[in-house]
């Protein structure tokens, strides 16, 4: 077993996992205590959108001009098909083609 787990590895993994799980469940249980209407409700309603924007936008900007054009392709395909697999494929194809064009 010494080879499978380094000294301190079990503690490190359990600590990291425990903290992460506490954040996941804690957020849900805290939100249960927020008021069901008024500004508190508006906060929760708006949170998924603002979180997803914050999660996505910095990465999209790092992808540069090919990324912006790929993003446009994604949104066009998504609006027409509402299919995530097709959206992902469109974005990847556009980005790869543009990268090859600019690089070579």
């Amino acid at each position: 077993m010494n080879e499978l787990f380094h000294t301190g590895a079990v503690t490190a993994i359990l600590l990291a996992s425990g903290l992460t799980y506490a954040l996941r469940l804690g957020g849900l249980l805290l939100a249960d205590r927020l008021p069901k209407s008024g500004p508190g409700r508006r906060f929760l309603d708006c949170l998924p959108g603002t979180l997803l924007v914050s999660l996505t936008l910095p990465g999209a900007l790092h992808a540069g001009l090919p990324g912006m054009l790929g993003l446009t392709a994604c949104l066009l395909v998504y609006v027409r098909t509402r299919n995530l697999l097709a959206t992902m494929a469109a974005g990847i194809v556009v980005v790869v083609l543009l990268r090859r064009l600019f690089m070579v």
Partner: protein
Amino acid sequence: MKNIGRSLWYRGARANIPLAISAMAYGGVFGILSGNQGVSWAEMLAMDLLLFAGSAQLVMIEMWHAPLPVLDIGLAVLVINMRYLLIGASLQPVFDGRPLWKKIFGMHLVADENWAVTIAAHRSGGTSPAFLVGGGILLLVAWTFSTVASNLLGGRIPAPENWGLDFAFVAVFSALSFSLWQGRGDLIPWLVAALLAVVGEHLLPGKLYIALGGIGGALTACLIEMLRKTKASPQNMIDEAAPAISIANAKPDFLAMTGEEDQ
């Protein structure tokens, strides 16, 4: 009822297939990286099953040098995963009224991917914890299989950018963001979120910029709602919830002033 439950698990898993594919591609790269860092397959497996958070695992294996800096690792993971506090909070409507054991079990299987897919599905006609968990199980299996297999197999680290795989998450998440758009009322909160996230990425450690943008944007929406309420007629205010009235009454001058500036 049992059939309905089962089909929701299945539908949740199916909706996450595109994200599971890109998670597997990244899991493959990540597994090789972990092997090169001296992370054993058993450690990898334990992280996959217990932690189940890609970006936190990546930072962990980067810090994987003997003697392991256990407390530093814990702190780094806390900073990176702070967004899960908000992700958990935003799942409140999905879990509303469900028994505690479902929350305790379901929340472990929440990753960015199935969270985003579930929230989008919830907006377009409601969903249930089963949908979330179905997606979570698929992602957990895909992630665990690809990371452990490539940890054992090893090899040279491929560059996912060459196949545009780094763009897969951006592509899917931006499409999902689009489907979360609720109308013009979201414009200012989303712009605030975008600005805070981009600025925060340069200034804050880990992934705190996600939490900063999420909170900042949602608080903006909250503030706009409060301003609107103080401007609303007394008849409307009677219909509103008591906490909103007490907040509005507590700061009438401040809110009235900013309300006029807002016009």
